[in-house]
Symmetry: C2
């Protein structure tokens, strides 16, 4: 790995960990063999004591930062604004691991992967993963790398939900966590939109319950469901200033309509409908309060330093969701802080507002 | 018409006005013959000087109040809480007219009506109405009834948009208006959800561009689009208190999911998909600022007393939309007032919170 021009760097290609005995999902099913794809960034020190786990959200992959090939890569990894040399998660100090979680279509065995027993994609037979499976896959990779302790676990949105679940499942693993734009459960508004999105996909006759891989066209249901998802990421202010009621030049089509079509089509060519319905359902199912009886019970063994970051215009995970997590932790004597930031970028602020999040994250990690 | 037990009354059956020469739509097409269905409530006085026009919204019909048959009617008309003897719009004083507008499926010639030239439903060949057509149909009925002047024009949501358009198109017609949960244009968030709803319906292969009347099953696309619509009517508070993250007893299904399925299926059996896409598109197309250059220009000839009522949790038409209408009117010297009410019922507050809206409406109309 070497730094390249600008403030990005050449990243290693994705790595594969093949579990010949398979991966046992939280709800009981096993897929064997099972491949987990992950990437690492920076250098692991001799004591293996400088590792940070970065957890990705619904749409990204394990490619958190850097470019594989330099100029040919159109874009660097999805969190290149935060993870890099001299950045918020500073690769001059830390070794970063990012694992593509089960259910995601970016390399790890997924619904679109070929089942060696049938030579067909798993499709509808792929298990419905839980966030526990995401955490479990991350743990398996860390074990494989011989990393028994983490300096921190960092993520946003569904990535942040994994971070919180880590505190509950493996409270001794990390010195600290940083969770952004997230909560201990998706509030009802998000659940409602996710449920509608799944119904849109399931109503697409070409979806056929998830066994659609003999088709080549992207699914219209996934395109439209993604538009619903997009709405939950945008703030009212962004909608008003970026689009308002404006029309495309010389047409009556609303600009927001044209934008949705573009985003929906783009997403449906790179993402997989079976993954989409499963990953969103996993988000909706996680509920630390329900699963542990209370947030206090969920975090009763966690002792690490904690930073939650929320954004005032995020209506998928409003700041109150972070506040209740931090409140529960503080009642347990945990050194937990909630940074509530102002941004017009809604839920996606954690992927956009690097000027806002870099200083507090850098300072938080430097004090470990 | 006579009062029956409780605080409702027996209403007359719907009336039909058949336009043999047809109805010419705002965008140029004509359907002939064309039937307009309307209802009247209370007694028109000899001078024909006590009439109030009530404009209905997307889902209701001309049946604004009362019961047709008494106890057999499960429910009274859609605004029975406001319109009746001794109520906010008091039938002891006023004669109320409500017209089923073109595009709606409740009696007036609609996409589901049989085209006498083909003996098949109009389907995809039915014009895309504008809010101007709704106002025009109302004007045609009033002309037919010999009513040349109105004491007031009253409506909520799309009904309120018609009310505002009346001020622009026929500024001399009424002494006053009352418009609730509305605005001079649908803000971008509402447009975005409407656009997504239309895409959901259009993606249903059984919709076939609007020519689906040989099928008997309700369209799944309409069911799911209605769920999207429902989300825009509910407040966050209502979602949290009515549903939260609760599951149906002994299942993992979220209660909000079960509620959506119930509402979607109920709506798709009584409403028509061609009507839904057309009426929502008409809402989205109306934009008094765009059409008249400014709100001041739109209301430049209006002189009547004006009451706008908004609700703090309505995010389809937030109170700012009423405020900008009233602000424009006041800058023209119009006697315009904006009453901003607090309710947890979101956009639908105008159909629910009769304790809040009855006193100001009653007082406003009594001072005419």
């Amino acid at each position: 790995m070497r730094k390249i021009s600008g403030n990005t760097f050449l990243s290693d290609p994705p790595k594969q960990l093949v579990l010949e005995k398979g991966f046992r999902f939280h709800h009981g099913q096993t897929i064997a063999p099972f491949t987990i794809v992950y990437e690492t960034f920076g250098e692991l020190n001799a004591e293996k004591s400088n590792a940070i786990l970065v957890c990705h959200a619904l749409s990204p992959s394990a490619h958190a930062a850097g470019k594989y090939t330099g100029a040919q890569d159109e874009k660097p990894g999805w969190w290149d604004g935060l993870v890099g040399y001299g950045k918020g998660v500073d690769l001059d100090c830390f070794f970063v691991v990012c694992v593509n979680f089960p259910g995601s279509p970016y390399g790890t065995t997924s619904p679109a992967s070929i089942d060696p027993r049938t030579n067909k994609p798993y499709g509808s037979r792929y298990p419905w993963p839980a966030v526990e499976d995401m955490v479990h896959a991350e743990k398996v990779v860390l074990d494989h790398l011989g990393i028994t302790h983490l300096r921190s676990i960092v993520g946003g949105s569904l990535g942040g939900m994994q971070v919180l679940l880590w505190c509950a499942c493996h409270p001794g693993m990390a010195d600290s966590i940083v969770a952004m734009s997230t909560g201990a459960a998706v509030p009802v508004e998000g659940v409602a939109w996710h449920v509608i999105g799944r119904k849109i996909i399931e109503a697409d006759p070409r979806f056929r319950g998830g066994d659609y891989y003999d088709g080549t066209e992207p699914l219209r249901g996934l395109e439209v469901a993604r538009m619903v998802g997009h709405m939950t990421y945008l703030s009212t202010h962004a909608l008003q200033t970026k689009f308002g009621r404006r029309r495309r030049a010389n047409t009556r089509q609303f600009e927001i309509d044209s934008y949705f079509e573009h985003q929906g089509k783009k997403f449906a060519t790179i993402y997989d409908a079976n993954s989409y319905v499963r990953v969103q359902a996993a988000m909706d199912e996680m509920d630390l309060e329900e699963q542990y009886g209370s947030l206090q019970s969920a975090f009763r063994s966690w002792r690490g330093r904690t930073l939650l970051i929320s954004f005032d215009t995020d209506w998928l995970f409003p700041p109150e969701e972070s506040e209740s997590v931090v409140g529960a932790m503080r009642s347990l004597g945990i050194d937990a802080h909630h940074l509530r930031l102002m941004s017009n970028n809604g839920h996606d602020s954690f992927l956009i507002d690097y000027d806002l999040i870099t200083p507090p994250v850098r300072e938080f990690l430097s004090r470990l």
